[in-house]
């Protein structure tokens, strides 16, 4: 196997540690985190804890720190995917560097087969897709009702935040208006989603 960095608790890490195939570990995943990795995620308006002190960081750095914690805590239960110009699963658990546009519809299309089989999805984004918003809403209506929560990352009160709220409403899921500020709340929600039956 090629040597690559792996997040502890990621699907690939668990597969290696437990000597199981990726397909087996994936089957047991309870939550897909679909993360925006577009260029806007480089914006320096978030923060992370460094030696227990808050420090200004990019949205991407903040999301990575949170995802690292979740995967460590909930080994093998989170399947990570990302979207920018394209959408892809990230079995290593480490998001690629932010770059490109925000093709959210591609991301949702990527994960909808899992959602239809009962896997929950948490969408993390600053909510400004390059695609037609109505198409995204329609896809959520068709395939994600009961299966989608959204978490907004960025400046509060923006159209992006409002769009993310609308998506959660359509899906009858929960909307978290500030990923960074309410990370503990969101973490509790993630644990709840994972514990719930499919």
């Amino acid at each position: 196997m090629t040597q690559q960095a792996l997040a502890k608790g990621s699907v690939l890490d668990v597969a290696q540690q437990q000597n199981r195939s990726i397909a087996e570990v994936t089957k047991d995943a309870k939550l897909i985190v679909l993360a925006d990795t577009s260029g806007s995620m480089n914006t320096l308006d978030a923060q992370i804890q460094v030696n227990d002190r808050p420090q200004v960081a990019s949205r991407d750095a903040a999301a990575r720190a949170i995802l690292k914690e979740w995967q460590q805590k909930l080994e093998g239960k989170i399947l990570l995917a990302h979207f920018a110009n394209n959408a892809q699963f990230v079995l290593s658990g480490i998001l690629p560097s932010p770059d490109g546009d925000t093709y959210m519809l591609r991301g949702l299309n990527l994960v909808q087969r899992f959602a239809k089989l009962g896997v929950k999805v948490l969408l993390i984004s600053d909510g400004i897709p390059n695609e037609d918003k109505e198409s995204i809403k329609e896809l959520v209506r068709q395939s994600f009702v009961g299966r989608l929560d959204t978490a907004y990352i960025g400046q509060p009160g923006t159209p992006g935040s409002e769009f993310m709220r609308e998506l959660a409403e359509i899906a009858r899921g929960q909307f978290q208006p500030d990923l960074i500020k309410h990370v503990q709340q969101l973490t509790a929600r993630v644990v709840e989603l994972i514990a719930a039956p499919k």
Partner: protein
């Protein structure tokens, strides 16, 4: 070179796929013959009272016979004498072992003849649907040569009932309460794990999604090892992973050929249980003896 009377002359009948040797008995002959031509390449047919040798060992055989008996053997030629079938009932297919260059020996049903040879790729090619193209180097790569469907010997799409029946078949063969072979626990647990993961439709659908993900991302995930030459029967020792066939006995249909005194299976096209009066034959070795059970599937 001195000529003796024809009755004591070693004789070799040469056919395209076998060399038949008849010679005067001497106690050290078997061990020296095997040393000269090879263990796997030589077979003593006790009913016919003759040695049957792999055809590619002709030069070594003739040289050996001349050295041993101090006389040139008599040589005759003929076409193949044995009729090779396309179907054999086997009581026990052994493990692929290091000393056999990647081959497993199998016992013909209701006999004590270990006659049939399967290369591990032939076995894997049927039981997993994927012949090993390269030698896996990690436990994870070995595991990933098989899907959970392969472990239960089923091809998707399958129903819940088919999965259950397939699991019971494997459990019948490998349950460690009955089967005391070294691999039994491991084989049973693999079957159990596969069954637990595949027993419902929704579980299978999720697993199938995982398989397609694995397939899509395989070029990124894995650096393929360079393909190794698969072991020739008489080739030099090469690398292979030891393999336990998932079922020990059954009726094997496929392509067979004669190789000296043995029968090599080059391809399995069908593997069926041996069933009598509604009971399925299950075999395993215990205390160096072949145990035979007839079980209800």
């Amino acid at each position: 070179m001195k000529r003796r009377s024809s009755s004591s002359l070693p004789t070799v009948l040469i056919t395209p796929h076998c060399l038949y040797v008849t010679s005067e008995y001497k106690p050290d002959f078997p061990s020296k013959l095997r040393a000269a031509v090879g263990e796997m390449e030589s077979y003593w047919h006790k009913d016919k009272r003759q040695w049957q040798i792999a055809p590619e060992k002709r030069a070594e055989l003739l040289a050996f016979l001349e050295r041993f008996y101090k006389i040139e053997p008599a040589i005759r030629y003929d076409t193949d004498l044995e009729r090779i079938k396309d179907r054999y009932a086997l009581d026990y297919i052994g493990n692929v072992k290091e000393g056999r260059n990647g081959y497993a020996l199998a016992l013909l049903a209701s006999s004590d003849e270990w006659l049939v040879l399967f290369h591990q790729n032939t076995l894997k090619g049927y039981f997993t649907g994927k012949a090993a193209q390269s030698t896996p180097h990690t436990e994870q790569q070995k595991n990933q040569a098989q899907t959970l469907y392969d472990v239960l010997l089923v091809q998707p799409p399958v129903t819940d009932d088919e999965i259950k029946k397939a699991y019971r078949r494997m459990a019948m063969q490998w349950h460690p309460d009955r089967n005391k072979e070294a691999e039994a626990s491991q084989m049973f647990m693999r079957a159990q794990r596969a069954y637990d993961a595949l027993k419902t439709q929704s579980q299978r659908e999720l697993y199938d999604l995982g398989l397609s993900l694995e397939k899509q991302l395989a070029p990124v995930l894995y650096t393929p090892q360079p393909a190794r030459d698969t072991a020739a029967l008489t080739g030099s020792k090469s690398d292979f992973s030891l393999y336990t066939p998932p079922l020990r006995c059954g009726i094997v249909e496929g392509k067979f050929r004669q190789w000296g005194g043995r029968i090599v299976c080059d391809e399995i096209t069908k593997f069926s249980d041996i069933v009598q009066n509604g009971l399925t034959k299950v075999t395993y070795f215990y205390d160096l003896k072949l145990q035979v059970k007839w079980e209800t599937l």
